[in-house]
């Protein structure tokens, strides 16, 4: 177990270093180099020259890379001339709101996918299973932006029940003041993952139902409910942790689209605005933060899995 943790930590560290190299390379591949990217297209040659000398962009690449990494480690993600604000302060404002959106979406998706997947496994190859299998196929094929538009059409326009725009608060606390406005964005983002999660729970439950311990539990007279909740659900929940970790990048992609549909002032909207206004410091800063968060998310998922699964927890300690 200790050896596994150490190996996994080293891997994660290497990947984080790799991510910083990727963003460093992209920054230097930008049109006009990093100085132009940061000062914007209207900077004069004199300003550019001064900026290059001042920030060491005339030094050898390894020296520049080292400067970049030590800046990152000190929380310096760059400066957006578009907002006249540091990228760190922009992200400090917007990232928590996106984390809230993604967190709520994961909770909703898991809470629906678990019972749905187990139900499909129990009623395998019956009408209920077919209906939800068909639904998850459509779910895979459904672009989130179209689903978002359809939900706005149905629940805000045809039936005026929910607001079509997400909460506009600048802090998480302010966003939580308008829970009704959060429903459509969270449901749309949850739907993106729901199809994958429920298919996963279905197939792992089908495997678990065929295991010896289920037969033993039944033979001991355990009720169907007890077999499903104590044995099948628990064992299907475990591998779902890994899937949650692997699914993080997809959720961030989904958040960008959903924040743009519902005009939710989070990191995704920030990134989208930056992409359309060529605000490269924001794009680079956000990318590295998301990449590192993904690596950490996967690391936590793997460690959680190892900790929760006694077969892994006790492996190699004997």
């Amino acid at each position: 177990m200790t050896a596994y943790i150490i190996r996994r930590l080293v891997q994660a560290l290497l990947v984080v270093i790799g991510c910083s190299i990727v963003t460093f390379i992209i920054m230097h591949a930008l049109p006009g180099g990093p100085a132009q990217a940061m000062l914007g297209p209207r900077a004069s040659p004199v300003q550019l020259r001064a900026f290059i000398v001042q920030n060491g962009y005339n030094k050898p690449l390894p020296v520049q890379y080292w400067r970049y990494v030590s800046g990152l480690l000190h929380g310096n993600l760059g400066y957006s001339y578009h907002y006249n604000q540091t990228v760190t302060s922009l992200l400090a404002q917007d990232l928590p709101k996106t984390a809230l959106l993604i967190g709520l979406a994961i909770v909703v998706a898991v809470l629906v996918a678990l019972p749905l997947g187990v139900l499909q496994a129990v009623r395998r190859n019956r009408p209920v299973d077919y209906v939800f299998t068909a639904a998850s196929f459509v779910g895979y094929a459904m672009p989130s932006f179209w689903l978002g538009i359809l939900l706005i059409l149905v629940f805000s326009i045809y039936l005026p029940w929910l607001p079509p725009e997400a909460p506009q608060g600048s802090t998480v606390a302010a966003v939580l003041q308008q829970p009704a406005a959060m429903i459509l964005p969270v449901v749309t983002l949850a739907a993106v993952s729901l199809a994958a999660y429920s298919r996963f729970v279905r197939s792992s439950s089908i495997e678990n139902l065929a295991e010896d311990y289920v037969r033993t539990a039944r033979a001991k007279g355990a009720s169907q409910r007890r077999v499903l909740f104590r044995h099948v659900l628990r064992n299907s929940l475990l591998p779902l942790i890994t899937l949650l970790g692997l699914n993080l990048p997809a959720l961030v992609s989904g958040a960008v689209i959903i924040e743009s549909i519902f005009n939710y002032p989070g990191m995704g909207l920030l990134f989208w605005t930056a992409a359309t206004t060529h605000d490269y410091p924001v794009l680079m800063g956000t990318s590295i933060v998301v990449a590192v968060a993904t690596v950490l998310g996967n690391l936590i998922a793997d460690l959680l899995y190892a900790w929760a699964d006694p077969r892994i927890r006790h492996a190699g300690t004997g």
């Binding site: 932006f145 538009i149 990048p249 961030v252 549909i261 990134f271 990318s287 998301v290 990449a291 993904t294």
Partner: protein, 305 residues
């Protein structure tokens, strides 16, 4: 699925020694017969053929002007001359759907084939080399996978003005990672099988081992993944178009059409919102059906269960 019922042909083929020419052909034929007996596969294939005809042959029969705007005919509801109405600058929506379909299919097919070729080569090298080379190559994959595909694409398309070839290249650039990982896993698994070890012991050269044993075993996974990757590429292209980062007008794709339609969501212009969405869902669904059916028909191990 229906494929599991038809196991005899494939099973007989699997029983043959791998690599002999006759068994290759019968395996191929049995794969086709399994594929054709899968109803979803037929529906998927039919939809793809329909979409190809609709997008590429359609404009030859149904002539529309998709270059000049017609400001006297904007936002018309469906009628005889315009079966799906017109959009905010007067383009015929049905004709626009065809033009959008061309870019979706061109980019989807080309990007996924490109991704599979790059991914297969990369994965096969990593899996065959093993050791620290494999470790390094896999960490590079992990690194690139840590960046959400859509964010990378948005970053690149904000630097380079997108055209169809650029789109193919950049979507291919983010899509090769998964095939690379799959092929590497398969290569590792095949490399240690007894019959591969046996050919090595008999003095078979490396290229022969790769071409006769590794490639035939890996090709099924690659074909399935390529098909599924087409669906992903179409969705990614649509997402970029929706976000306004696609090709410049008058070029379009279904995602771009949807984002134009979103501006009129309160005006009840349903013909700008439903057709492009339905086109995306049907096409993606068709490629997913194809991929699943191909998996059933190409994976001999699966059929034995």
């Amino acid at each position: 699925m229906a494929a599991s019922e038809t196991r005899t042909g494939a099973q007989a083929a699997a029983a043959d020694a791998p690599g002999s020419r006759a068994s290759n052909r019968s395996m191929f034929r049995s794969s086709i017969s399994v594929f054709l007996q899968n109803r979803l596969a037929i529906i998927g294939l039919g939809t793809i053929v329909f979409m190809l005809l609709f997008s590429f042959i359609g404009p030859l029969i149904y002539h529309t002007d998709q270059i000049h705007t017609h400001l006297s005919q904007v936002d018309l509801s469906p009628r005889a001359q315009h079966p799906l109405g017109t959009n905010e600058v007067g383009y015929d929506e049905l004709g626009r759907l065809m033009v959008g379909g061309q870019s979706a299919l061109e980019v989807g097919l080309a990007a996924s084939v490109l991704a599979s070729i790059v991914g297969t080569i990369y994965g096969a090298i990593a899996g065959f080399a093993g050791g620290w080379i494999d470790g390094l190559m896999m960490r590079i994959l992990d690194t690139l996978l840590a960046f959400p595909a859509l964010l990378l694409l948005m970053l690149i398309t904000s630097i380079i003005t997108p055209s169809i070839p650029v789109m193919i290249a950049v979507i291919g650039l983010v899509a090769w990672l998964i095939p690379a990982r799959l092929v590497r896993g398969e290569t590792l698994a095949v490399r240690v099988r007894d019959y591969v070890q046996a050919t090595k012991a008999l003095g078979s050269p490396t290229w022969r081992t790769i071409s006769r044993h590794i490639v035939p075993n890996v090709i099924g996974v690659v074909v399935v993944q390529t098909t599924l990757e087409v669906a992903n590429a179409i969705l990614l292209l649509a997402a970029l178009g929706y976000l306004g980062l696609g090709a410049a007008p008058p070029a379009t794709n279904w995602g771009q059409m949807l984002s134009d339609g979103l501006n009129y969501v309160y005006d009840g212009y349903w013909w700008l919102i439903y057709p492009p969405g339905i086109a995306i869902v049907l096409t993606v669904l068709a490629f997913n059906f194809m991929g699943d059916a191909l998996r059933d028909s190409l994976d001999v191990r699966l059929q034995r269960h």
